[in-house]
Amino acid sequence: MSFINYSSREINCKIVYYGPGLCGKTTNLQYIYNKTNPEAKGKMISLATETERTLFFDFLPLSLGEIRGFKTRFHLYTVPGQVFYDASRKLILKGVDGVVYVGDSQMERMEANIESLENLRQNLEEQGYDLDKLPYVVQYNKRDLPNAIPLPELEEALNPTKVPSYEAVAPKGVGVFDTLKAVAKLVLTELRKGG
């Protein structure tokens, strides 16, 4: 749910990165954090375990500039990918304006990808959202690994509705900003429709 403040002329939107454990959601946010000008970002918060697995969420506030005199602020969140953190994932989806699904390109993670995608759809439904009506993009991460599945197979399995999709190598930044821009554009376009 976007929050528009006419008084301070700000638009605030929430984007959630979803996907199976170790697919690179946190790495996406870390890359964005490292490559963004200090004045355009706030502190990145990671609620993680001692072994750097996300426990609750990562949070990164970003300012993208002004649109018609309104400052646009995006709050990026990741969910914990591990299966048993489902209760936490549901909480983080509350009030979401746009979703990035990060898939892991490796053959052996295909089952986890599919399970996570089904979990995303179901958890959204529980909150009263329909994934097909939300601003939504897909990212195929880890494209540089030798065991990466060819793109058409990933598309068929993970993107049946043919939303915008991007190939990525998150630690090197490949596809990271393309993905963010795509979902941010969809969110703003949706805001226009809503207005």
Binding site: M1, S2, F3, I4, N5, Y6, S7, N12, K14, G42, K43, I45, L47, F56, F57, F59, P61, L64, G65, I67, R68, F70, T72, H75, A87, S88, K90, L91, I92, K94, G95, D97, K133, K181, A184, K185, V187, L188, T189, E190, L191, R192, K193, G194, G195
Partner: protein, 160 residues
Amino acid sequence: MIQQLVMYEEELQKLNAICEVLHRDSNAKAVLVIDKNGQSMVQAGDVDELDVTSLSSLTAGNVAATGGIASLLAEKEFAGQFLEGEKVSYHVSIVGQRVILVVLFDERSSLGLVRLRVRKATNDMVGVLETMVKKSQSGSGQASVFSEITDDDIDNLFND
């Protein structure tokens, strides 16, 4: 379809006034009003040295987690939460099931006083929030600013 919460000048001024009174009457360090999704809405008091954005996000996460625990225990919600620190204490309550009211205070105040003043502020705030939600739902005309956004406006944001 995205449901928007919209803050107009009139409601902002009313919320500011309520928070200023709460800040003064409870001898608090700072008072924050946060949307349940973690967006900061209103602040009063000594907030210059606070990272309000991070505090808002973490508080909302904390409230969401507490709400999750409540539903597991078949409780509607845990309406309040209090964390006691050595120098600063943190009192959180939910107002109108919609927003989160945070009061930060030190030894100049007490939990009893904060609770008392929060109760009064909560009563005052509920009406303002109801108006805000109604206006957000009806659009109240001003939302047309966004219907005029063009593809170029959106593209221009990303010209780096």
